[in-house]
């Protein structure tokens, strides 16, 4: 389950909805990871562009990988502006056993940071400034250089 929202994520509502969805399905562990925008570098918030076709196929690949381990993944991400101290990103894993779940949420979030086609901008004085030096080149970058 991958969902994109305009602006900040309603953390209690989204995580409660996911929990309701899985609680009777005999999983033993539900592990959400919630990202909150920090007030740092003098920003008012962050803003995001997402390229959905590649995000969807990236997520589907991970969902398949999770299913092979009896697990399931959820993810929600913001599009557009997200102010400081609100959430732009939630992912969650549900698994029968905790060890698989803790490893999976770690690997999933790490690969999300390296691979998900999402671009981050700092909101400074009402302007969007690409967070270039906090961004990572994708695998295969430089092909046309």
């Amino acid at each position: 389950m991958l969902e994109l929202h305009d602006g900040s994520l309603d953390v209690p509502k989204i995580t409660a909805r996911w929990y309701e969805e899985i609680k009777d399905k005999n999983f033993g562990a539900f592990i959400p990871f919630i990202g909150i925008v920090r007030d740092e570098f003098g920003i008012d918030g962050l803003s995001f562009d997402i390229y959905e076709p590649i995000l969807n196929s990236w997520f589907d690949t991970w969902q398949k990988k999770a299913k092979e381990q009896g697990a399931m993944l959820f993810m929600a991400h913001s599009k557009g502006d997200v102010l400081n101290h609100t959430s732009s990103y939630i992912s969650a894993v549900v698994t029968p056993q905790r060890k698989v779940g803790l490893r999976l949420i770690n690997d999933f979030v790490e690969d999300f940071k390296a691979s998900a086609p999402i671009w981050k901008y700092d909101l400074i004085d009402g302007k969007r400034v690409y967070a270039k030096n906090r961004s990572q080149a994708l695998s295969g970058a430089g092909l046309l250089a």
């Binding site: 562009d49 076709p53 732009s88 940071k113 671009w119 080149a137 994708l138 295969g140």
Partner: protein, 73 residues
């Protein structure tokens, strides 16, 4: 004509180009000053699949995307 899209912060309008492989695209882009800062750090997708070789044949109606460095979350 293949359609070229410049994603995220590149801030350049899409282009339609008659090319038959990515090497031709590389030659065309080498002359585009606006792209100089981006080519070294962008990944390339053809029809929404990231590709690793410029030998890739390009068909008319293919969609080519340039993906700059990412930072989700």
């Amino acid at each position: 004509m293949a359609r070229i899209e410049f994603l995220g912060p590149i801030g350049k309008e899409p282009q339609e180009l008659a090319i038959s492989n990515l090497n031709e695209l590389k030659e065309i882009f080498a002359k585009d000053e606006k792209l100089a800062e981006w080519l070294g750090i962008c990944a390339v997708a053809v029809n929404d699949k990231i590709v690793k070789s410029t030998d890739m044949k390009i068909n008319p109606n293919d969609k080519i995307s340039l993906l700059p460095p990412v930072c989700g979350g």
